[in-house]
Amino acid sequence: MALRDTPTLRILIDASPETEPLPDRYRTLTALLEQGHAVTLASGTQPVSPADTQPTLLLGLWKDTPEFENRPAHWTVQNIHGRSPAQIADLAESHRPAPRNPWKPWFPVIDYDRCTNCMQCLSFCLFGVYGVDGERRIQVQNQDNCKTNCPACSRVCPEAAIMFPKYKAGPINGDTVSAVDLQKEKMKVDISALLGGDVYDMLRLRSEKAKSRFSKERDADKALTERQKCLVKLAEAGDIPAEVLMSLPSPEEIARRAEEAAAKAKAALQPGV
């Protein structure tokens, strides 16, 4: 589920000609942004984003702190005379409505201009990141389940419609998708083809083989090596971090989840059901 917690504190800096100039704008802005605040510097030269109902801290270097007759209840006014950028950042921090939940800067973003609603991502992702909306349109539903640095779902997308904006390279990072990219993606993607079958089946098969060997030979190390070999191959084929593959659930759980995802995808694709 997407994080929905306390809204960002908006810091509105009055930089109009009626105020004294902020001595070190750049350092002040940087300090505030590094704390995660949204900042509006309003000098009156051009429009800024409109007022809303978010908690807002209005700062300025006024000779006398102005009285705002119709000041909204969610606004706080503070004169920042004599404060350094670090002190201004501390002041802003003290007005934060509540501590924010941590978030992961790694989650998929669907390019709906490219997405054909084929449900391959939903079928593929073992971690339940994807779901469908009321109109059976694929959507990112549980982005917190996404495994950091794992772009596997964008590899399986035949249309290169899944982006990870913090990814290092295009088109996964949102760069334009070229015909060459599509071809390349197809080659990389088809992890299943590279392994001669469905990726999860492959894992299951390997695991079963390893189990069988284990039962015959009582050689746990050999079984483990076999599984690791398989995972390394997968990692190389799909640019999937080894730790993601190593943390995959048990083969039984994989099978259960894969069936569940496939059923969800199938149901979403069936008209009128």
Partner: protein, 115 residues
């Protein structure tokens, strides 16, 4: 007076935008005396479905200094706050030098480029 708004994304939580480009753009905006909005990380706001995105996507023409236009469009869409294709210009700090980004941000005309 420019009619468009300016939005700067600090891409706080990853090293994907060259730090010298971010610093150059923010410094130039501060020095220009222009009004602008700045956010720590558009990805974070989208992840949280933060109401700030609704505010930032409304209010007319906007130039956004962030990353790839396709990604920025997707982030706003995923958070339920679509950008207007006719009144949004996105400047890519991942690929453009700071000077080129600043020139476009401060130019009086708007060149919509949402994919």
């Amino acid at each position: 007076m420019n009619r468009h708004r300016i939005l700067y994304c600090h891409c706080q939580y990853a090293q994907v935008v060259p730090p010298e480009v971010k610093a150059g753009v923010l410094q130039a905006l501060c020095d220009s005396g222009a009004s602008f909005d700045a956010v720590a990380d558009l990805c974070e706001l989208a992840a949280r479905k933060d109401p700030s995105l609704a505010r930032l996507s409304s209010g007319g023409c906007v130039k956004i200094a962030a990353c790839y236009p396709r990604a920025v469009k997707g982030l706003f869409h995923q958070a339920g706050s679509d950008l207007s294709p006719d009144s949004t210009e996105i400047l890519n700090m991942r690929t453009e030098p700071a000077g080129a980004v600043v020139d476009r941000l401060l130019a009086p005309d708007l060149q919509p480029n949402l994919p």
